[in-house]
């Protein structure tokens, strides 16, 4: 853990908290994961490696299906429903029971990612401030 930047640790912690909050808010949720812009898993219900691979595959297929990258994916099957969303440089994937309300699910996922992105920017800023230090002697 020594060579992991502090911002990544902070964002990972925030993602874990955000995932917990999302799970609490959505009674139909079976499992979910939050990924960063590179596709790395910041938080996942369990088995992050499987979530990373399968989420990447879903987004890759969805992007290939149209002329431009997708923003949201909703696949409803007999076994359950899959929601995927890209927002603010992050991505969230959620698997729910059948007949979950899509608009609510996407709303919760979007607000979770928005809050997480804000927390990430804040963490970035504090790290930069720590590295550079106060701009004038005596400040801070």
């Amino acid at each position: 853990m020594a060579d992991v930047p502090a911002t990544e640790v902070a964002l990972g912690d925030a993602a874990e908290a955000a995932l917990g909050f999302l799970t609490e808010m959505s009674p139909d949720l079976r499992g979910a994961a939050i990924l960063d812009s590179t596709g790395a898993v910041l938080a996942a219900a369990e088995d992050p490696e499987r979530w990373r691979e399968d989420a990447a595959a879903l987004f890759e297929i969805a992007d290939r299906a149209g002329a431009e990258p997708v923003e949201q994916v909703h696949v409803a099957t007999e076994q359950g429903e899959v929601f995927a969303l890209r927002h603010a440089g992050l991505a969230a994937i959620a698997v729910t029971e059948r007949f979950a309300l899509a608009s609510l699910m996407f709303f919760d996922m979007r607000s979770t990612l928005r809050d997480l992105a804000t927390a990430g920017r804040r963490a970035d800023k504090s790290t930069v401030t720590r590295q550079i230090g106060p701009s004038t002697p005596g400040e801070g």
């Binding site: 949720l29 079976r30 499992g31 979910a32 219900a45 369990e46 088995d47 499987r50 979530w51 399968d54 989420a55 595959a57 879903l58 297929i61 969805a62 290939r64 299906a65 149209g66 431009e68 990258p69 997708v70 923003e71 949201q72 994916v73 909703h74 696949v75 409803a76 099957t77 007999e78 076994q79 359950g80 899959v82 994937i93 698997v95 029971e97 007949f99």
Partner: protein, 74 residues
């Protein structure tokens, strides 16, 4: 004799609840699997399960459902 006002209100509320329950029942019965993609400009596209993209999306979604597993009973 006119019904008491609270009776009218109760009847109306239970009428709405019945309508909502019937809507949810119809939705459960009639809804078929689908794959829908949404784009940043607000456009959306449906992919049937017999199209190549649709079939791939269903397979990818199936893998994710498998990873998530069943929801533990409360």
């Amino acid at each position: 004799m006119a019904p008491k006002p609270h009776r009218v209100l109760l009847d109306r509320v239970s009428g709405y609840a019945d309508e909502a329950a019937a809507y949810m029942r119809r939705r459960r019965v009639s809804r078929r699997p689908f794959a829908r993609l949404y784009y940043p400009n607000g456009r959306s596209a449906d992919h049937a399960d017999d199209s190549s993209a649709g079939a791939e999306l269903f397979v990818a979604a199936g893998r994710l459902i498998e990873v998530a597993g069943k929801r533990p009973k409360a």
